[in-house]
């Protein structure tokens, strides 16, 4: 991950000035600038409130890891290490990615004509070792993140209650949700543009 001022999507795609993709991104200048502004708001905020940098980058690395986006996950993991994350936390993160990875989107629909589209899949719960290494806040966050990444249509109020119970405030949950949702965008833009440039 480059410093906060370098464009993260450009760096992850490998866009160089004057290249065809540089010209394409320049045609949507507000989207380019504000994707970067969202990254700054969520990962290097002026007012971090009660969501720590370590939590933000741990969630970032987890989201990218669950997507199988190795280079992006490594970039967020590098920033996580810079926050002073313990090796136990980093190891637990890697182990959780390996254990929790599946394929999405799956989930349930309300009873009715869509019931036939219900697709079964796991609701991830951390094991004891992971809980011990991550602590209650990140444990609750990771369980929520797994749902948001793989089966968002299963979302329901009890998932938010679990976050509140683990010490996430309403405002913290908005930030956490934005981190996961934004990365779901960033990772797909990077994947799509790399494929468009012929280097998937």
């Amino acid at each position: 991950m480059p410093g906060t001022d370098a464009d993260v999507i450009d760096a992850l795609v490998g866009i160089t000035p004057g290249s065809p993709l540089d010209a394409i991104r320049a045609r949507r200048p507000e989207a380019r600038a504000h994707a970067q502004a969202t990254y700054r708001a969520l990962f290097t905020p002026d007012k971090p409130g009660t969501v720590s940098a370590q939590e933000r980058f741990a969630v970032g690395a987890f989201v990218a890891g669950l997507h199988g986006a190795t280079a992006i996950a490594n970039a967020y993991a590098a920033r996580l290490t810079e926050t002073g994350a313990s090796s136990a936390l980093v190891k637990a993160l890697d182990a959780t990615v390996a254990e929790a990875t599946t394929r999405g989107p799956y989930g349930q629909y309300p009873a009715g004509p869509l019931t036939r589209e219900n697709t079964a899949g796991p609701s991830y719960r951390m094991g004891a070792a992971g809980r011990a290494a991550l602590g209650p806040r990140l444990t609750a966050a990771f369980e929520h993140v797994h749902m948001l990444v793989f089966h968002p249509r299963d979302a329901a109020p009890p998932a938010l209650q679990a976050l509140l119970d683990a010490g996430w405030s309403t405002t913290d949950i908005v930030t956490l949700s934005q981190i996961v949702a934004f990365l779901s965008f960033q990772i797909r833009v990077v994947t799509g543009l790399r494929t468009l440039a012929g280097r998937p």
């Binding site: 949507r28 199988g68 986006a69 589209e117 309403t170 930030t175 934005q178 934004f182 965008f185 797909r188």
Partner: protein
């Protein structure tokens, strides 16, 4: 007072994808309009969004909301060439259909139908799902959006080739990528912070 979950008022949940107007009921407390600072209000970008509980909830992280909204507007509304507006909306609707976001799908299916005047094709996408036959150009856009929405992504050179054969240039393909990617952002917020409801009287 400790933060708590909201219990939505009595309502009818939609049971199928629809182009009808839906409401959205939050599970977490939005900011009260009278409690919003100038920064909160500015983060809405459109002042009228103060009426929306969704945007007043997201305004709790105003910098993220404002940047999200300005990204959204350029991807969908920038009129400079690339993919026609109707097909940007088609990519948004297809992504929402595949992820299962009834609220997002309703809004963007309405827009896709309005801008394309192809109400029957849009309705077929909602009713039959992302494998509906909508003609090759739309099929290529839907297939690319779905492949990029899968986790992990299944988007590959064959999707780019198919879009090129359907007549899209690289800026238009980039617009498909951005529209589908953006709805992977929007769907996750809409699905996880509240729920859709059939609008009273509809």
């Amino acid at each position: 007072m400790a933060d708590s979950i909201l219990t939505p008022p009595s309502h009818t949940a939609p049971s199928a994808f629809t182009r009808a107007q839906l409401d959205w009921l939050p599970w977490l407390e939005p900011l009260a309009p009278e409690a919003m600072t100038e920064r909160h209000l500015a983060s809405l970008v459109d002042a009228a969004r103060v009426k929306s509980p969704y945007f007043r909830l997201l305004a709790r992280d105003p910098d993220a909301l404002e940047a999200r909204t300005r990204t959204d507007k350029d991807i969908f509304y920038n009129p400079d060439a690339g993919l026609p507006r109707a097909e940007r909306e088609l990519a948004a609707a297809a992504t929402s259909r595949f992820n299962g976001c009834l609220y997002c799908a309703s809004v963007h299916a309405r827009h896709a139908a309005t801008y394309s005047r192809r109400e029957d094709d849009v309705q077929r996408l909602l009713d039959a799902g992302v494998t509906a036959d909508l003609g090759e150009r739309w099929n290529a856009i839907v297939a690319a959006s779905v492949a990029l929405t899968a986790t992990p992504s299944t988007f590959g050179p064959e999707h780019v080739d198919r879009l090129r054969r359907a007549g899209l240039d690289d800026l238009a393909i980039s617009d498909v990528i951005h529209a589908a990617a953006f709805f992977n952002w929007a769907n996750r917020l809409m699905l996880s912070l509240g729920e859709p409801a059939v609008a009273p009287g509809s």
